[in-house]
Symmetry: C2
DNA sequence: CACACTTAGTTGTACAGTCCAACTTATTTA
DNA sequence: TAAATAAGTTGGACTGTACAACTAAGTGTG
């Protein structure tokens, strides 16, 4: 059943004449939707010989040795194809490779995770957002994509404790309570308002714009991300649950 | 020059009939030697068609689809082949893949990093320890192994700020000043004795053995790692350099 | 055999940043 | 004008590091 790949070899040395694993890239794309953390999933094709036909899966696919200069470019290409987003937060998550994860043979995938603002999404028709509840996705995924997603959620939660990553989930302009809400959504626990504000404001990562968000009560200052900012690392975590 | 690999295809679908990248695994193996952080390197073979003949490189090589169940097993196998160590701290570092990193063609490597106690090393003759000075290796490495090593050093330093990783570099029994010294070697800066002791002792990661290390002055309590301990994450970093 | 020397280990004050709770402020709506 | 609500501030308690001085337990030397 499994397709085997053999190199043509190198003449005298001939050391490349052995089976090669399949090489893919998958992308875990997060955004905040409807006051929830969401992940973008696609449906697998139904063609003959396709593994996991019609199952849900992470967007991804084979590395195209003609098109992709490197792995990050491949991940960026797949992100752009599905969402139209070109300059998000894109970080390598890890790689998963084994003899059994793909019925077509030994395969290894390089997983990335991306954070984009909800608004940025101009999705292709095959892609849909799915909510993460209680730190988990309800749906089952193709391949080992469930493991990959679980790792991505864990990494995101972990980093949110001590970095400014949620800033990349925000629209262009946002208030401090907005940002705190996003932290709370990802961590799934409430945070202290005053400690949160002190931490964020002293990190020099956002700047106020000359506008307020108006609502049915006291207006809130609008901020935007400072340009070209790397993620900020804080020297403490928020106080962990216990 | 580059070898190309094509799958045999899958009959009707035929979707696997395209070139596959080479797949390798490399391992960055750290230990403390002679009061310095050291990394284990091997010399590339000199055969015909071999890239970077006789250059220094990280231990690693092609995934063997017959022998290796998964990537971690492949990394553990390579670690064992070079050092004889079987149960070290082994963590995935990331993956590097591009069209140009290997002259034999599009290739992707899955990099791991390992921490082992100095004493554990029963090395194969082709492997040697090299010191890391000022956070860098003096020697040039084959492929993009210099980048991979730099990333590994950075990751190690970063994690040492807030985890118990250096414990895996220690021999079976060690004193608290020994452990502090290893932290200081990796971070390349002095740490506060009392804060260090408080942190480590309250982390419940080590336990005293009924022995003292005797020397030319006051004896020091010997400790060992508690069994089956995962690395510990502290809620604060040590105070950063500036 | 006292005493200097060295390293192990402790103690106490200062300080930084979070936790917690109460407070003030700015706006809408009844 | 008062109630309601969310934004934003203030202050004391608590936790853990920074810094520095201290005590403890050995060896080596005159």
């Amino acid at each position: 059943m499994a397709g085997e790949a053999r190199a043509e070899g190198l003449g005298k040395a001939g050391q490349l004449d052995f089976p090669r694993p399949l090489t893919t890239v998958d992308v875990v794309i997060f955004a905040i939707l409807d006051d929830r953390l969401g992940v973008l999933l696609v449906q697998r094709p139904a063609g003959d010989g396709e593994p996991f036909p019609l199952s849900l899966a992470l967007p991804g696919g084979f590395v195209d040795v003609a098109k992709d200069r490197d792995l990050a470019a491949c991940a960026a290409r797949k992100l752009k194809e599905k969402t139209g987003v070109t300059s998000p937060y894109l970080e390598q998550l890890g790689s998963w490779g084994s003899a059994v994860r793909d019925p077509r043979g030994w395969s290894a995938t390089h997983a990335y995770f991306a954070l984009i603002p909800e608004e940025a999404g101009v999705l292709t028709p095959d892609a849909r957002w799915f909510p993460i509840r209680d730190g988990r996705l309800k749906e089952r995924l193709a391949f080992d994509h469930g493991d990959i997603l679980a790792t991505a959620i864990q990494r995101l939660r972990n980093k949110v404790e001590y970095t400014s990553l949620p800033a990349y989930l925000m629209p262009a302009e946002f208030t401090l309570p907005d940002l705190q809400r996003v932290y709370e959504i990802v961590l799934d626990r409430p945070l202290e308002k005053s400690a949160f504000r002190t931490r964020i404001l002293s990190a020099d990562m956002i700047e106020p714009v000359a506008k307020m968000r108006r609502g049915p009560n006291r207006p809130a200052q609008l901020y935007r991300l400072k340009k070209g900012r790397e993620p900020v690392y804080f020297v403490r975590t928020f106080n962990p649950p216990e």
